[in-house]
Each structure stands twice: as structure tokens, then as C-alpha cells.
Assembly symmetry: C2
């Protein structure tokens, strides 16, 4: 097995527990982009136990709540694709009307050349907010 | 309010309950593509109550299980975007290595001109399988 999400964290870890981790994604034009990565090599959400699946989604929605509170995006995009890396991970992406692809998905056609003038994510602040939001998650 | 998911079903309904519906999506090259649409006009998953959010995800994962069983795809893609129609809906997409965009998201760059030779979805069969899978969901 040579899965990059098994052998690397997949980004700077903002929060983690025994089952999964939240990492920051460095994607130009997409401040606040996070991924929730299941620690074990699981291919599909329906391969998780019911309890683990619910836990994974609680983390995804906690990240959504924190990103909404801290960044006030126009929309949140959630996606679990895994066509290239078939190891459960969720993209949690704050979207803004003036971001490079809006209203297209970030994987779609670029809509504008520039990157919206928006402060870089305060990842330390995000990690602190996540820790508070997820304190009583289990 | 002029939301198309409020004023139309958004596709042929395969299953529904009081809170949400599963519709078939007619997308060339993507047999079995379904959407789970929340009935009420809710913008983000984190705007739902905890119980409603869990219900919504149980339906999404039930659709995933049924599509895996009936179509044996190489991967399942799940996404809640809503940049154009900001009314909670989930794309549940069976992906195949020879489909038009694989391994890209279906919103990305097309990878091959043809449509994989694959039988059309048996939607009546899918509706029956969904009914069985979702019989005891609540």
C-alpha cells in the first residue's frame, strides 16, 4: 500500500483525535480550505461502522460551523471524492462570490484571473476555534 | 424566493419521506447519478437541527450503499455544493474508471470523448432497492 494519506498527515494538522484529523489545505485563492481525513485506510463512507461514520460527519460539520463563524463565507462546499486517493477524506471549502471559480466548483472552470483580496487564514486561530468546537464532540 | 428546488422536485423522485427526497439525475455518461434534496429551503447543513442533519446523512449513505450494490462503481463521489442553488442537496455519483471525467471530479476537465458503454440505469430497480434499504431508516 502506498497511500499518501496513510504515510503522511496530508497537511498541517489543526485538530485530531484517535480516529481522524483536520488539516489545513494550501490552495491559492481558497483561504480556510480544510480537509477532514479518516486515519484508517477506508475507501468509502459506507465501509465505516455506523458509529464511525457519524463521528466523521460530526467533525465535518464542526469544521463547517467554525469556518462559517470565523470567515463568514457566501457558501460552504463539502465533498468526499477520492478518485485519486481512495482513502476517506472530506473537503470543507469556504466559498466567496469573488473567489477564482465561484459559482463553479473549485474543480471547474476558473471564472476570474485574480485571487480575491482576502486576508490569509489565521490557522492558529482556526485551530483554537476547532478545539473549542470539538471539545465535547465524542 | 424563486428557488428551483422549492418549486420543482428537481428530478424524478425515487424515494421520499416528509423531510427529503431522492431524485434521479439525467447526466449523460453518469448512470445512477442521484441527488438527495432536503425538502425545506435550508442553505447549509449546519443550519439543520442535529436530528435533521443526521437523518439527511443517513439517506445519503443509504443511497451510496444501494448504488454500490446495484452498480459496483469504482468509487462513490459525494458532494454538497449549492453555489448556484443554495438549497441543501447532495450529489451521490457512482464513478467508473472509464467515465468521461475519471479520475477528475465530474465538474473538472473531461478526460475522454466517449461515454463508457454501460447499460442505462434501471431506475425502477433502483427505486425498489432504495425502498428496501430505507424501510427502517427513521
Amino acid at each position: 500500500m502506498n497511500c499518501e494519506l496513510c504515510i503522511t498527515p496530508g497537511g498541517t494538522v489543526l485538530w485530531q483525535d484517535a480516529r481522524c484529523r483536520v488539516v489545513q489545505v494550501e490552495e491559492p485563492g481558497y483561504p480556510g480550505f480544510c480537509r477532514v481525513i479518516w486515519n484508517a485506510h477506508i475507501r468509502e463512507m459506507s465501509d465505516l461502522s455506523k458509529a464511525d461514520r457519524a463521528h466523521c460527519m460530526r467533525i465535518v460539520f464542526a469544521v463547517e460551523r467554525v469556518l462559517r463563524k470565523t470567515m463568514n463565507p457566501d457558501k460552504i462546499n463539502l465533498a468526499s471524492l477520492g478518485n485519486m486517493v481512495a482513502h476517506v477524506h472530506w473537503h470543507v471549502i469556504p466559498r466567496f462570490a469573488d473567489d477564482p471559480h465561484f459559482p463553479q466548483p473549485i474543480w471547474g472552470m476558473r471564472q476570474r484571473p485574480g485571487i480575491a483580496a482576502r486576508p490569509d487564514t489565521d490557522f492558529a486561530g482556526l485551530a483554537t476555534a476547532l478545539a473549542a468546537e470539538l471539545k465535547n464532540i465524542n
